[in-house]
Symmetry: C2
Subunit: 163 residues, 2 copies
Amino acid sequence: MADESLFDFLHMEIVSHIYKEQQSSKEEMDNKDRAVCVSVLESMGFRVGQGLIERLTRDSPSFKDELDVMKFVCKDFWTKVFRRQVDNLRTNHQGTYVLQDNKFSLLTQLSNGKQYLDQAPKYLAFSCGIVRGALSNLGLDSVVTAEVSVMPSCKFQVVVQKL
Amino acid sequence: MADESLFDFLHMEIVSHIYKEQQSSKEEMDNKDRAVCVSVLESMGFRVGQGLIERLTRDSPSFKDELDVMKFVCKDFWTKVFRRQVDNLRTNHQGTYVLQDNKFSLLTQLSNGKQYLDQAPKYLAFSCGIVRGALSNLGLDSVVTAEVSVMPSCKFQVVVQKL
């Protein structure tokens, strides 16, 4: 129990630290400031995702295609990192994937419904980075974004970049 | 497996972020800069420790004295947070406690021996804060410091502040 909350609490602290440090010299944050925060959190997540997937795939067989990689991320990786599987994976078979998690672990503490919806992006940047880092180490260059309409449900969109 | 590494990786990222941000404007860090970093990490740990102990003691009976609290921290709390019990607890029965962990989880990844010993304090500030935060919520105001002579072994000294 506390094991999981350890990560959740630490994640909360980091988000709040990074936003505070960006805001320290100003009255109010503008969009550029917010973009800086998101980018710092996203890069942290990226490196954490790389590290995690490296351990997790140490004994795994190789993947046969892109969809196979995505399925691994939705099942094994998601379970280890976010404590449940993705509820729904959709794809247009052209490199775009939508991963829906109806009870996203980093949002469950935050709210249940539409309250604080404007705060959600703060708490998703790190996770987007984690997913992008994991995919990157599995050979897929991607852009990962997240969208929330009702917490704690969350949709991650992954667009694989073709070389 | 990845669950634990998730926290470890995130912790590494935070340490590196906080040291980088403090150093950004300078050639080299001086002792004052290092103290700022340690203090930022320690306060993060403090709040995380408060949150964790609150959950962990929700269903626990109350403690009969200071030593009882310390034993709980060394066993239950340590196991949840650092994945093992403290190996040795000593006290002078006047409010000073030494908690020795021979395989401290946040140092095992770093080194085995005396190499990088100068880097160890970076990776202990957050943990000192966690312990201080936990004790604070259990009603004990304390000063917590850590000392390493050979990694990954670590000694935490807790000095309870009498009112």
